[in-house]
């Protein structure tokens, strides 16, 4: 039994170390956001302050960057979700001999470094917009959205593919046999079935876009996003205002995660209640006969 205890202790120790590595840096950084010391430090803790948050929220560039990041995030969701859906739906319909080639093309952005995607996007659209005369499209916000969409669409496609794998084709055929048009089958059978996938694809697309740096820093041209402003600030020097931003982001996401969990739990409870009622009804019916 002692070997068992030792093994358990080892596993516990490993878990503690792993999560210390994971959270330690973030915790330390968070503490520095509340220290009056002008250089991010935890020792000596000179005094508690919220001054760094005030400086952060009055930082004009950060605010502009945040606005742009939100704009790009929405654009990316609008481009990536439909493209990902179309890519996934086409996967099973594309001509069999071309399928692996098609898969290679649409999945390649996932395995391409972000900087390369950013570079190639700028090079292509600079030339393309100049030749076609659509130079209003040569804009940092639009280019960043297009560049990010190239690989975020692939993420969305993978989400839709895994949901579609469990889709019962017979449902579609039943709809068609009962006289529904293709469009009706699409809107009333496929889209409701894919709803959870739509939700997770949209959330993932927005978050990946919001925190993207590698692609954006090339494609953003003269504009700025929150991450590019942040990168500039960090290179200029360390200030606890940057830690304050991290604390803000952590707070927002933790709140988001908790809300998501609560909503999900309530939905699960509702589903379970519906199931229970259905079972009760069935039992009553059985008893009656």
């Amino acid at each position: 039994m002692t070997s068992h205890t030792i093994r358990r202790a080892m596993v516990g120790l490993y878990l503690v170390l792993f999560f210390t590595y994971l959270f330690g840096p973030l915790v330390i950084m968070s503490i520095t956001a509340f220290n009056t010391s002008p250089y991010p430090a935890i020792m000596p803790f000179e005094g508690f302050t919220l001054e760094w948050f005030r400086i952060l929220f009055n930082d004009k560039d950060m605010i502009i960057g945040l606005h742009n990041s939100l704009k790009i995030g929405v654009l990316v969701v609008l481009i990536s979700v439909p493209c990902g859906l179309a890519g996934a739906m086409l996967m099973h319909q594309v001509y069999a001999r071309a399928r692996s080639f098609y898969y290679l093309i649409v999945v390649s952005p996932v395995l391409t470094p972000g900087v390369i995607i950013g570079i190639s996007t700028v090079i292509f659209w600079k030339d393309f917009t100049a030749t076609t005369g659509a130079s209003f499209l040569y804009d940092g916000i639009i280019l960043a959205s297009l560049g990010q969409s190239s690989f975020i669409s692939a993420y969305c496609m993978l989400i839709f593919l895994s949901r579609l794998q469990r889709f019962d084709r017979a449902l579609e055929e039943a709809g068609l046999d009962l006289g529904a048009s293709n469009a009706q089958v699409f809107w009333h059978i496929l889209v409701p079935y894919l709803r959870p996938a739509f939700l997770s694809a949209a959330v993932l697309a927005f978050l990946s876009s919001f925190e993207n740096y590698n692609t954006t820093t090339f494609a953003i041209l003269a504009e700025k996003t929150l991450t590019t402003v942040l990168a500039g600030r960090v290179r200029q020097g360390s200030t606890p205002a940057i830690s304050a931003l991290a604390v803000t982001i952590i707070a927002v996401t933790v709140a988001g995660t908790i809300i998501y969990e609560l909503v999900k739990r309530r939905e699960d409870a509702r589903k379970a209640a519906t199931m229970r009622r259905a079972q009760d009804a069935e039992r009553l019916e059985m008893a009656a006969t």
């Binding site: 080639f101 030339d127 933790v254």
Partner: protein, 338 residues
């Protein structure tokens, strides 16, 4: 060869390939090799058009053409806009020549700085990948095979949380710890272990620690997914037959989890070798990493063709890595990107 022929050819290429496949498919249908409803019969006109337009926009305009344009540009000289398309605009290998031998005016035989940075990046990325695997395999195995459902849910939540904080802030956290007046130095100085602060950032220790930290999650998840599918009975069978624990991992769990291992390693390698945030935030002035050099080619030297050539070299390296992993593991692309 004059470079003005390049763009029309490059733009036509994806459409020609698509048309070719379309033509072959039509021929086979005419010959009766393909049965069933046609594409538009199956989807209806409106949705069929949506599918084709969306996929064409994505695959051609967002993926293929930008990459082809970048490759094409890498073989062109740097010219002022007025000379573009002129007699001097011919295809050349000078950008690749520069990567290997430096500028024609320099006396050095090889472009040592860039070549060294390139190989160091590849080597360090492989090391980071292996390190991440060693670090993440136990936790993935623990979650997939040992822990109960409630605990797994909690651990997954814990694992994801740090990754909502973006890459630059994560790198910044390491800077707070490792800089000369940072926390680690304060502790070491305060406890009297060292007399003078150590320049962890200048020694690149901060950079490697940050790089190792940055993409941990992308190793855990594929591993966890792969190991989770392994039936517990297989491990028990091996144990009953007297296999020591490391035998079980090496000969039962790991072969089974091969696609997950390959997937995690490819992702981590790709992201690490292409990382820009950690080297920029944590690298000292003399740190060698390839992506900041590529960035400087573009936005410091404003030599876009050269930057393209460097980016293409990095891309080829990643392709080679993915192919090597597929070859070693005898895996298909679909298994890696799941």
């Amino acid at each position: 060869m004059l470079a003005s022929v390049g763009h029309p050819f490059v733009i036509a290429l994806p459409f020609v390939v698509a048309a070719m496949f379309w033509y072959i498919a039509r021929r086979e249908r005419a010959l009766g090799l393909i049965q069933g409803p046609t594409f538009f019969q199956r989807n209806g006109t409106a949705i069929g058009v949506f599918l084709l337009v969306a996929v064409m926009f994505w695959a051609v305009f967002l993926i293929v053409l930008p990459q082809l344009f970048m490759v094409e540009l890498s073989f062109r000289p740097k010219l002022p806009p007025s000379a573009t398309g002129g007699p001097r605009d011919v295809y050349t290998l000078q950008n690749y020549h520069y990567f290997l031998f430096g500028s024609p005016t320099s006396s050095a035989e090889w472009n040592v700085v860039h070549i060294k940075a390139f190989f160091l990046t590849i080597f360090a990325s492989i090391m980071v990948t292996l390190g991440n695997f060693a670090l993440c395999y136990p936790i993935a195995f623990y979650m997939a095979q040992v822990a109960g459902a409630a605990r797994v849910r909690f651990l997954l939540l814990l694992l994801i949380t740090p990754y909502w904080v973006n890459e630059i802030l994560r790198a910044f956290a390491f800077r707070v710890i490792f800089s000369t007046s940072g926390i680690l130095n304060k502790i070491l100085l305060g406890s009297g272990v060292i007399a003078d602060p150590i320049d962890f950032l200048g020694l690149d220790i901060g950079m490697y620690a940050g790089l190792g930290y940055a993409y941990l999650l992308l190793m855990v998840f594929p591993l966890y997914n792969a190991v989770e599918n392994l039936p517990k009975s297989q491990i028990e069978a091996a144990r009953d037959l007297g296999a020591p624990w490391w035998h079980i991992h090496l000969f039962v769990v790991m072969p089974f989890a091969k696609p997950g291992i390959a997937s995690g390693c490819t992702l981590v390698f790709m992201l690490t070798s292409g990382a820009l945030a950690a080297p920029m935030v944590l690298g000292g002035p003399r740190s060698l990493w390839f992506t900041p050099i590529v960035y400087d080619r573009f936005y410091q030297a404003f030599h876009w063709p050269q930057g393209s050539a460097y980016a293409f070299i990095l891309l080829l390296t990643c392709v080679a890595f993915v192919m090597a992993v597929m070859r070693i593991g005898k895996l298909s692309l679909g298994e890696i990107t799941r």
